[in-house]
């Protein structure tokens, strides 16, 4: 400790104080030693830490880490003995310096710690803040918070006072404070807070204030469960205004998964988030995260319901907007099967397409998905064939999954007519479009399945074999082949498209944006020499590896592209007639 103090003091004397703090902070593994040393140097009168940091200017931060210095000061701040006014000036100065995205929060946290050390400090701070709002506005929340650690009820009262009578900015910050203070000691405080929030909700239209009211109402209700319905009503009223910031606050609350948030509040927030505009991507991001969490537990159906309703109302969006939620669905194959069945049967195009995209995301490592019989109310001809067609149309690029769905549908019926139709869908388009993967899969499934499903599979595969035999019996006919010139043009076109898509992928890649790219013209290893810390050259060798990926495209798209599009379109658009 003494060494550290000595080092810091020496740096101070050299006029290189901030660099010294940074160096010490970097070496301070225990994370605390520097703060203690600084506080001691200050309290011992060797260094006026507050004055030092008050003198810190943007220009002087060149070459040093402002963040490390500010965090060191913030850590030391609660232990300092210094006049409140000087400290407030210094903190306000550092906040201004670090704005808008700097470590102001750290410094304010330190200031709250400083205030909480002495009951007089919050009060005095509050007086100074109100007296010079422009200068100290940022310090209101830490001052109130520090006060609430000492006497919560008193500072709830102060916050209410400020909410009722302050300027718009003060009101906004007071409303935030009401949701951030320590728990009140007496039950009546919650009632008073709610009353103040209600008054503000009635009289104010400021978006930030309304957002703060929502946050505070959600928070305060936990301190008096008897007031829960009142808080819920308040939240309902505020969110009903459609305030975008309030909705954003609701999404944050939902995503934060606050312990003890009752379902009534959660449902309320979800309900109101339905009015969220589709271009509010940040808010949707929170909702997405919340939905992904809900999908894991008993609230799954609410999450699914939200997505269904929201996407229905916002035709410009796709299921992918709920990126985390779709990952969650993809991770749970049973849930995926359930949603596939439900949405293919009754869902809208956007949901069916969403399912197809989720499954497409498996990129050839096709999962085994079955339909969920519980989602099929009646296993009649119409329903099963409808589902089969939807599966074929939407999953044509995930043919093995489509085949699995057809097979699982076969298992739902004994009706020969239905089985024959499903079998014919398996043959055309799946087997004839994918003579490789689907044929192989069908062959495997024949050995696994039993009964009529097996018989249907065998029949479909037999038809396919006959088709294939017919084609393979046609001798090579060069007279029908495309000319060499055509092949050349096609090859060039494909190369160009591949190169373009590779370039686009590289542009979007975070990895490619941070690495340096070297082109090797020959060989399959890259050797280079780097100078080590000992000054000697070290030989580094990087072996190259080939990365390959393959995609199987449906043959039918080549043989009959328009017909293929037409059948996909017809199957996709076919309505379910009850």
């Amino acid at each position: 400790m003494d060494d550290l103090k000595a080092q810091l003091f020496e740096a101070y004397q050299r006029g290189d104080f901030f660099k010294g703090v940074e160096t010490a902070r970097r070496a301070d593994v225990a994370d605390g030693g520097v703060a203690t040393a600084l506080a001691t140097l200050h309290n011992d009168g060797q260094i006026d830490l507050v004055a030092c940091f008050q003198g810190l200017q943007k220009e002087t931060t060149a070459g040093i880490s402002f963040y490390l210095n500010a965090s060191a000061f913030s850590s030391a701040l609660p232990s300092l003995i210094a006049p409140i006014g000087q400290v407030m000036d210094c903190v306000a100065h550092l906040c201004a310096l670090s704005a808008p995205s700097g470590p102001a929060g750290l410094v304010l946290e330190g200031f709250a710690g400083f205030c909480a050390k002495d009951p007089a400090r919050p009060l005095e701070s509050l007086e100074r803040i109100e007296a010079n709002w422009e200068k100290y506005s940022e310090l209101l929340l830490p001052a109130l918070h520090a006060g609430s650690q000492i006497d919560p009820d008193k500072y709830y009262g102060e916050s209410i006072r400020l909410l009722d009578s302050g300027s718009p900015d003060i009101k906004r910050r007071a409303a935030v404070a009401l949701g951030a203070l320590n728990a009140p000691k007496t039950a009546g405080v919650v009632d008073a807070v709610l009353s103040a929030l209600e008054r503000a909700a009635r009289s104010e239209q400021d978006e930030s204030l309304l957002a703060s009211i929502v946050r505070s109402a959600v928070r305060i209700r936990q301190y008096d469960l008897g007031q829960e319905s009142r808080a819920v009503t308040l939240i309902d009223q505020v969110l009903a205004t459609g305030s975008e910031e309030a909705l954003h606050a609701a999404s944050e609350l939902l995503a934060s998964r606050q312990a003890g948030m009752p379902n009534s509040v959660r449902h309320l927030l979800l309900d109101h988030l339905q009015q969220l505009k589709s271009d509010r991507l940040a808010t949707l991001g929170h909702v997405d995260f919340a939905l992904s969490q809900m999908l894991k537990g008993p609230e799954r159906e609410n999450a699914i319901g939200f997505m269904e309703t929201y996407l229905h109302a916002h035709a410009d969006l796709k299921l992918k907007v709920f990126d985390n939620a779709t990952h969650e669905i993809a991770a749970d194959l049973k849930l995926l099967g359930t949603l596939l069945t439900r949405w293919f049967l009754h869902g809208e195009h956007v949901l069916r397409e969403g399912i197809a995209n989720i499954i497409g995301g498996f990129h050839g490592n096709w999962p085994h998905i079955e339909i969920d019989p519980a989602e099929i109310p009646v296993t009649d001809h119409r329903t099963l064939i409808f589902l089969a067609r939807k599966a074929v149309a939407y999953l044509i690029l995930a043919p093995v999954v489509a085949a699995d769905i057809l097979i699982s549908l076969m298992k739902q019926t004994d009706d020969d007519r239905v089985l024959e139709e499903i079998g014919s869908l398996l043959y055309d388009p799946l087997l004839i479009s994918y003579p490789g993967s689907v044929s192989e899969h069908a062959t495997q499934q024949i050995t696994i399945q039993t009964g009529k499903a097996q018989a249907t599979l065998v029949a479909a595969h037999k038809t396919f074999q006959a088709y294939l035999n017919c084609l393979t019996a046609i001798p090579d006919t060069p007279a029908l082949y495309p000319s060499d010139e055509q092949r050349e043009v096609d090859w060039r076109r494909n190369s160009r498209m591949m190169a373009d898509s590779f370039k686009n992928a590289q542009k979007q890649s975070v990895f490619f944006n941070i690495i340096h790219k070297s082109v090797l013209l020959y060989g399959n290893r890259s050797v280079y020499h780097v100078r080590g810390q000992d000054g000697k050259n070290q030989r580094v060798e990087t072996p190259m590896k080939a990365h390959r990926t393959s995609t199987e495209l449906p043959r039918i798209a080549q043989i009959d592209p328009v017909g293929f599009d037409y059948f996909l379109y017809a199957f996709k658009m076919e309505p379910f007639v009850k």
């Binding site: 007279a479 029908l480 043989i559 009959d560 599009d565």
Partner: protein, 573 residues
Amino acid sequence: MKLILKEYLASLKERGELDAILPDLLSQLGLNVFSRPARGTRQDGVDVGAFGSLNSGPEKVYLFSIKSGDLTRITWNTDSPQSLRPSLDEIRDAYILNRLPSEYQGKDIVICLCFGGDVQEPVRPALEGYIKQNTTQSVSYEQWNGDKLAALIEDSFLREDLLPSEARSRFRKSLAMLDQPDISYKHFSILMRSLSKTDGLTEAQHLLAIRQIALCLWILFSWARKSGDLEAAYVTAELAMLHAWEIARGYPGKSKTAEAIRSAFTSTHSAYDQISTDYLSSYILPHVDKFHGLSSAVRAANSVDINLKLFDVLSRLAVRGLWHVWQAYTLPVDQAALKQEQFDSADEYAFAIRRMIANNPALLSPIKDDQTIDITIALFLLSQNAGNQLDMEVWLGEIFNRCAFAYTSNGKYPCILRTYGELLDHPTRGDDDYRQEVTAGSILYPAIGFWAAMRSFDALYADIGKFEKQCMKHCNFQFWYPDQDSEERFYTNSDTHGAVVSNVSVNQPKADFLAQIFAEVEGSPHFKDLSAIKYFLWPIVVMACRHHRVPLPIDFFAKPASPPTAPVSPPSP
């Protein structure tokens, strides 16, 4: 060149090949051919008979018995009617005594043993013995083997002064590049153009040119057959036919030269017939019944390859069928059985077309507007039999539905882009500007409208009208008609020709629509003035349309019902 010729001669078959080229060769050598090969009639061993002087020698009667390939034990003397020795006996015992034209009786006779290859050693003693035993003062024997024929052909047709070195080089290149049909075709077409450019030449030079066309085509065919790929042969045969007609059309009379030219044209036609039949029967007909069979056989890299090839093949089938229809109409009424045989053959091709369409769905989705030409030629054949009415309606309906769907969904809808690269990328964009640009004109939709109107496919006609109104207002629906330049330019495609009636609307009562179309037909003599129409060789016009990508004249379908039923002094084969 002699090696090329020998190879060619050795590969020829007797029927329709060696005996097709020999009369031209003899004529070119200055002999008067008085007997030509004929099927179904008794020949008494003589395939070709000619009279005259060879190499400035005395005038003699030359009687040819033709066998293909090498002379072997089997082709020399077995029970087979194709054996040479029995034919020679027949000539001696029957032909010379009973069938030799009276004006040649008493003349010296040379019996020529003609075969494309060589005499195999085991046969030689028997052959020489036979010749020695049967040679008399007035009857002698000569062997016309591959070597002799090749030398005669080279001297008569392909000598440097007869076929310039540039043309010989083109010809050799087209043979060398047979495995790349488009390149082979390119060289052959330059050769054809040089041969059929006969302005300012004498009749004899015209005759030589048309014989050279025939010979070149036969040679190319034999090489292509050997290589196992008739694609180049097919396209060059079409071209050769058209260029041969370009020469032949100038000789409608009955002069000696005109007859000789018609004979050479017939030889070209025979080659074309054989190539076309071989091509279709080898590559296409066996597979039309297989689901996706022909589509898969294309070995395509993309859907455009399949689409282009199948529509091309479709019209090849149809043209073949139409030649049978034509053949049927050329036969006199009293040959009802033969007539019916030809109609049946045409029906077989029509049936093949129906099967091909049913099994290859690409034929429901033209990607190029000019594939209307192939569709119309196929419809021309199908329309020859009332039994195809329903198939025509279904096919046209499906084509229209898919085109309309592709257009509205921005799929691969028919466009006026021509190059392969452009078609691969089509549609490059989905905006209206692009769509209107690539569908600025169309012969497809009005053609479907025309057939719908003519055949009373009323629902289809109404649908096209609606589509025109809703989506195709920007598109110039048009019909092409021949004009005064067409006769000169049609067959060799030497320049653009014809006139277009623009902005024809299907969105009007069909009677008005048809009246508008036929008014132009009635007001113009140019279709009837086309030599191929005048001389009742109308399939040549169809071929020219197919080959040079010109719309089939609507005149073919004008009332009274076509094709014309009475030949007008045809220079027919």
